[in-house]
């Protein structure tokens, strides 16, 4: 017995050494594996130009009535995110029911486990690749962006929705059932009103994320502000990069604020 205690003490006392070695090895492997190219000679100069551009943005690009200016494209970006999130929220509902585990079910359940796996797969499938695939189908432009956001967001919204379903209070459902209501009555009178605010709140949260991704989807040709941004970076038009960055920062901040305020009221 005493030896056993000693052994445990030994393990407890020295296991950190093992962990330290593992972590250290991981870092050595990573640092050796990466080929640090070293800074290009022009790096300092480029950084300086970027900074200069950021502080001297090209204001004339803000609005020129062509429809290709910052103002129009920022709104196009928001439209992509909004529409994509909306479509995704609707598509996510059946996925949520697929993946949600009923209260007294086992941890492994064929329906819910398979649903959860599908959601992981969708979440992992890079949004950028989806955008490129949809460009093949509908041509370059913001519609492809909408489709990419719609499908990719299912991965996260489906997961959040199904967790909300798993954790919801089933009391009001029981009450409707005991009053002689059918399954459909339970769903409409108890489940929906209980779960909707949570679904809405998650959808808004996902919208905040979609705004960020819609602003870069243009880099592969799926509409929004990303296209002129990448073009400006590649042509080293730093004052235009500056104004676009400002535009994105203001847009994201404003949306986060508005959406955050609504979400606080919902829950």
């Amino acid at each position: 017995m005493t030896e056993n205690v000693k052994k445990q003490n030994f393990w407890a006392r020295y296991s950190w050494i093992m962990w330290a070695v593992i972590v250290l090895a991981f870092y050595v492997w990573s640092i050796n594996g990466l080929q640090f190219s070293g800074l290009q000679e022009s790096a300092a100069e480029v950084s300086k130009s970027i900074m200069h551009g950021l502080f001297h943005p090209e204001w004339s690009y803000f609005y020129d009535g062509s429809g290709e200016d910052l103002f129009s494209l920022i709104f196009q970006t928001l439209a992509i995110a909004f529409l994509g999130t909306f479509v995704s929220a609707i598509l996510s509902i059946p996925f949520a029911f697929w993946a949600a585990r009923a209260p007294r079910e086992n941890k492994f359940h064929l329906r819910s486990t398979s649903g959860k796996f599908i959601l992981v797969f969708i979440r992992t499938f890079p949004e950028l690749v989806l955008a490129i695939m949809f460009i093949k189908a509908v041509g370059p432009g913001s519609f492809a962006g909408v489709l990419a956001v719609s499908i990719h967001s299912i991965g996260m919204l489906g997961k959040l929705f199904s967790e909300a379903l798993e954790n919801m209070d089933r009391g009001s459902e029981e009450a409707i059932q005991s009053a002689g209501g059918s399954k459909a009555d339970m769903w409409v009178l108890a489940t929906m009103p209980t779960i909707m605010p949570e679904f809405l709140s998650y959808t808004l949260y996902r919208f905040e994320i979609a705004v960020r991704s819609a602003s870069i989807l243009g880099m592969v040709g799926a509409g929004g502000i990303g296209t002129p941004l990448l073009f400006a970076i590649q042509t080293r038009n730093w004052s235009r990069v500056g104004i676009i960055l400002l535009g994105i920062i203001v847009m994201v901040t404003a949306i986060d604020f508005i959406s955050g305020t609504i979400r606080k009221k919902l829950v």
Partner: protein
């Protein structure tokens, strides 16, 4: 029974002002967005065969490509680890300076939080495009991108954790004459260490996901090959890459989740 006894229903509730108004605003937004993005479901469904053609080509992955993919996918993990670490190291002082219970000077806190909020608005690929322009094509750009990206995320998670700690040990140490640094080391660190490590792992998970596409813009890792296969229309190779990403993400998530559960 006569109606007088009924309570007054407010005008807004009686005519469902909130519901109807909200629905109208929502429909207007929906309509506006559809016009602005040129949504055309007809076109989508007529061209659906092309999309399925693409999917069917992806359904036959070029397995021999797996060998080529392994090295860059490991590089992706390495980038994520180093990037997250650099970001975390920079984030620690910032999160201390942004914590309400440690820094009483609201100007310092305000400035720091403003910087952090700015950094967090920038999407990862945008950072990647910028860093590729600055340091050139390669993994270095990816590392810096992930460093800045995780810096923004971790600082916020960290200062929120610091703000929820138990204040009494801090008070006790201050009463015993400790300076600010001593208070942090002896009273703050022991309380937050576990959540810090947990958040580090969580950010690492997210960075592994993010790093898989950074290469699309030239910032190293598997994304470079993703771009190559897509632009040469080798969707069978794309499929291998997507599957490889899936495997790596699931493994990293599982390991990291396991470690995080142990930390609690």
């Amino acid at each position: 029974m006569d109606k007088q006894q009924l309570p007054q229903r407010p005008f807004a509730q009686k005519y469902h002002v909130k519901g109807i108004g909200g629905a109208l605003v929502f429909l207007a937004l929906l309509w506006g967005s559809s016009v602005m993005t040129g949504v055309n479901w007809g076109e989508f469904f007529t061209n659906l065969d092309q999309f399925f053609d693409l999917l069917s080509r992806m359904a036959h992955p070029a397995w021999e490509y797996t060998n080529i993919v392994i090295q860059p996918i490991l590089e992706t993990i390495q980038m994520a680890l180093i990037g997250t670490t650099i970001g975390t190291v920079i984030a620690i002082p910032f999160s201390i300076l942004a914590a309400r219970n440690l820094i009483k000077n609201s100007v310092v806190r305000g400035v720091i939080r403003f910087i952090l909020n700015l950094v967090r608005t920038l999407p990862d690929l945008l950072l990647a495009a910028l860093f590729v322009a600055v340091v050139g094509i390669g993994a270095t750009a990816g590392v810096w991108t992930l460093a800045v990206f995780s810096f923004g995320m971790i600082s916020k998670l960290f200062y929120e954790t610091i703000e929820t700690i138990d204040e009494r040990p801090l008070e006790a140490l201050r009463a015993a004459g400790a300076n600010n640094t001593q208070v942090v080391i002896f009273a703050v660190v022991p309380q937050v260490l576990n959540s810090f490590v947990s958040y580090f792992l969580y950010t690492f998970e997210i960075n592994v996901r993010a790093s898989t596409v950074l290469g699309y813009l030239g910032a190293g890792g598997i994304g470079v090959y993703l771009q190559r296969s897509l632009s040469s229309f080798r969707y069978d190779q794309t499929a291998v890459i997507v599957l490889a990403i899936l495997v790596v993400v699931i493994v990293i998530d599982a390991v990291s989740n396991n470690l995080r559960e142990r930390l609690q």
